[in-house]
Amino acid sequence: MIRYIASRLLSLTLSLIAASIVIFAVIEVIPGDPAAFMLGVNARPDTLLALRDQMGLNDPLPLRYFAWVTGMLTGDFGISWTYKTPVAELVNDRIWVSLPLAIYALFLSTIIAFPAGIIAASRRGGMGDVSIMGATQLGVAIPNFWFAMILVLIFAIKLRWFSAGGFPGWDTPLLAIKSLTLPAIALALPQAAILARVMRSSLLDNLGEDYIRTARAKGLTRRQALWRHAVRNALIPVLTIIGLQFSFLLAGGIIIEQIFFLPGLGRLIFQSISARDLIVVESVVMLLVFVVIVVNFAVDLAYAVVDPRLRSRT
């Protein structure tokens, strides 16, 4: 087990290093000088040079890369060129919108997908299964930004139950949760559809296993065998998908945050890209990639704990 963890840790570190090099390289090829962008077209050459110096843009590339990486390791993400505040502070402000939104959406998709997947699998081929599978096909096909528009049209404009956008802050928790509700539903729909399909197929795989026959032979009813044995085992692949979905939701809210004017990470990235505030883009993208890689690592470890066969394979 220790060898397995060590090998996964090595692969985790290498992935993070590779990802940081790729992100840095991509940002470096971006045409346009951020200093010139900040000063506008009428900037004097010496002012431009001075600003480039101050921003560290005149240093050689490897030096800038190491400064960036070591900064991040110590929690220093640099200072935003447009906001003039530390990137870490910007991220810290925005994460309290994006993180709750991602958790909210994940919660909604799970409470929809679990029952749907279980009902579909336990009534395979029946009306319930067919209608749930049809609904998931539709759920996967609906673009979430269009769904968001429809939600706004119905619940904000026609019924006036929710506001069409904006975020009041966490000083008023109930209002904050209310303002995240429509965005969370819009984000949750396609995720719920995917999750329900995974839940169904994983459960069907398990229902065909020998241990279920044993459980039935032992005298358990179909329902008991399903709940006590099959559902529990079927959860393993479902948890993997949930892990992956979480990191997707953290970044995937980018368009939804735009639609609902939510001051989250996605909106921060979008605005920073438009303003050529590359230090923010660089750091936030790295942060998101970091989350994905670490979540994958955690899932791998969780798998190894649950399934000893995986450990011996390395």
């Binding site: 590779a18 971006i30 673009p143 930004f145 528009m149 049209l153």
Partner: protein
């Protein structure tokens, strides 16, 4: 042939047909604005109504289908043309450092938030259909590389491959002449699924203004234009959205149906 193939193929063919037809005929010219006729609901003259410039929505849907399909097909093409050779190479050199590098490279691409990177690419190189194709295509590469490697590995263990080796064929020839034909079905199925994801991604990019630029019609762009009009003219938002949903639904049903139909194990289980 299953019901999902029939429904999926019909929906897909309808949109392919509309896109093809748009090259020679659209009910109206969308380049000319007809402001007095703006925001008409669907009626006998404009079957799907008109938008805020008085342009015929049916004509725009037809031209938008062309954009969506072109972007998605080319993005899948990038994925297949680069991903499949990489996957075959990794399978032919399985266990080697090269294999490890290719697979870890795939994992790395998967770790990047695709939409964020697509936005970054189109923002850097300027919004256009070409850049949207590249941005979407990059994320198709690891999908096909991983899938083709996974499918090729068990084939390498088969007896007919051993026979080909004994006959003196090189790994490259075996990969092209024997492995590739055996994984084509799988690639077609995955291609259909990636095609539908490409349609969604193109719509998302053009919705935020980073896809095909006006005057080229695109479904995402139509939705962006309709956003502020939803309360007075809901059809301007509903119709392009329905077009996306139906096209994606059609491709997904087709992909699912084909997978079941091409997989002998599932076919036998059914009969």
């Amino acid at each position: 042939m299953s019901r999902s193939i029939a429904i999926g193929a019909t929906l897909t063919l309808v949109f392919l047909g509309l896109a093809a037809l748009s090259f020679i005929y659209t009910p109206y010219d969308i380049q000319s604005f007809d402001i007095p006729n703006k925001l008409h609901r669907p009626d006998a003259t404009n079957w799907l109504g008109t938008d805020h410039f008085g342009r015929d929505i049916l004509s725009m849907i037809m031209l938008g289908a062309r954009t969506s399909i072109a972007v998605a097909v080319l993005a899948v093409g990038i994925g297949i043309c680069i991903g499949v050779p990489l996957g075959l190479l990794a399978a032919a050199r399985r266990g080697s450092l090269l294999d490890e590098l290719i697979m870890r490279g795939n994992d790395l691409v998967f770790a990047f938030p695709s939409l964020v990177i697509a936005i970054l690419i189109t923002a850097i190189f300027g919004p256009s259909a070409i850049n949207a194709i590249i941005a979407i295509g990059i994320f198709n590469i690891p999908v096909f590389a991983r899938l083709s490697r996974g499918a090729a590995l068990p084939i390498w263990e088969r007896d007919f491959i051993l026979a080909a080796r004994v006959a003196g064929k090189s790994s490259l020839r075996i990969s092209i002449e024997h492995i590739l034909p055996n994984i084509t079905n799988l690639m077609i199925v995955q291609g259909t699924i990636q095609f539908s994801l490409g349609i969604l991604a193109e719509a998302a990019l053009s919705y935020i203004g980073l896809g095909a630029q006006p005057p080229t019609a695109s479904w995402g762009r139509m939705l962006a234009d309709a956003q502020t009009l939803t309360s007075i003219a809901p059809h301007t938002a509903l119709i392009p959205g329905m077009a996306i949903v139906l096209m994606v639904l059609g491709l997904n049903l087709l992909g699912d149906g084909l997978r079941d139909w091409l997989d002998p194990r599932i076919r036998i289980a059914r009969t």
